[in-house]
């Protein structure tokens, strides 16, 4: 079993790693061989959306996922505190010798189209009346964390923006790992992605966490 990164963050400012984060780590560990075989012959561009504390990106840096010395990592978050936390977590785990940059960005809107080989996304998936507004100031601390949690109708408003654009986000060989909770109705979502949009989609891991059932699906061509 691969080691989990050390984390020391201010959880008033960024999302605290929880069952969902750990399920993604387990999923990436399980997929290590698939990813290595798919990407070992070229440079791969890895992008995590919403890294929060940086636990998942640091895990990939630490263990050379998808491939050692052949990957560069971008962590994109709307929350400026998460970008600082991600750098700090990478440093705490001695990953300064790997290629990581963070970008303050609304999802992938700032990245060139069709360049991401591995996309990882633990979205705000909690059903809510609305997706919160982006706070006006960096110091509106408690408002930033809400953005990491609340996903509007069915908890799917933000995830749907990514799924809808997956074609222009991923490189032709790209793979996306996305986390869902049961209230997101992932089976229906996956069925739509397969039947209407021609994606391959597979369940990687699922787990009961308290009263919630979490799952990670991968999407690829």
């Amino acid at each position: 079993m691969l080691a989990t990164p050390y984390i020391k963050c201010d959880y008033d400012k960024v999302y605290e790693p929880a069952e969902d984060s750990f399920l993604l780590l387990d999923s990436l560990e399980k997929e290590q061989q698939f990813l290595n075989e798919r990407f070992h012959s070229h440079l791969s561009v890895v992008c995590e959306l919403g890294p929060g504390s940086g636990i998942i990106t640091t895990f990939m840096l630490q263990h050379g996922i998808p491939s050692k010395n052949k990957s560069i990592y971008f962590a994109l978050d709307i929350n400026p505190w998460a970008l600082e936390a991600t750098h700090a977590t990478a440093k705490l785990n001695a990953c300064q010798d790997k290629f990581l940059d963070t970008v303050q960005s609304d999802l992938t809107s700032s990245l060139r189209n069709k360049e991401i080989d591995v996309l990882v996304f633990n979205p705000p998936y909690v059903p809510a009346d609305n997706v919160p507004m982006v706070p006006s100031f960096k110091d509106d601390i408690d408002e930033w964390v809400d953005l990491a949690l609340l996903g509007g109708a069915d908890g799917m408003v933000v995830t749907n923006k990514v799924l809808k654009n997956l074609d222009i986000i991923l490189s032709p060989n790209g793979v996306a790992y996305i986390l869902f909770c049961a209230r997101n109705k992932p089976e229906e979502v996956v069925k739509g992605m397969k039947e209407k949009h021609g994606w391959k989609a597979e369940l990687v891991e699922h787990r009961k966490a308290g009263w919630e059932v979490l799952s990670v699906y991968k999407f690829y061509r």
Partner: protein, 135 residues
Amino acid sequence: MKFLTTNFLKCSVKACDTSNDNFPLQYDGSKCQLVQDESIEFNPEFLLNIIERVDWNAVLSVASDLGNTALPPSKPVFPATADQLSEEDMTILRDLHTLLIQTSISEGEMKCRNCGHVYYIKNSIPNLLLPPHLA
């Protein structure tokens, strides 16, 4: 933000996606502070993989924005594997390592060549978020 990252950042404005001028962004050389960060070791194989992938015209464009016009006009060609590299290849790769990976922009600004929107880099982190009226 490392120089290589400029090879992946475009303007966040959706309407600019239909333009060819949303990438690379235009960096303001007079306002960009460059620092050298040596924490990533030189690894010729990593560099070969990076060079295979980069958009060379965008490398040239940003390098020139930042005052470096000494790069070859077309992407250098190297042998397929690291063990076939000549001394001269290694020298070029070391220079490209210095530029693409060690050179970071710690403070600065850049704009979209299509819509003119200006983005800022602070504490080495670029901010590509748009104000609400453009998002």
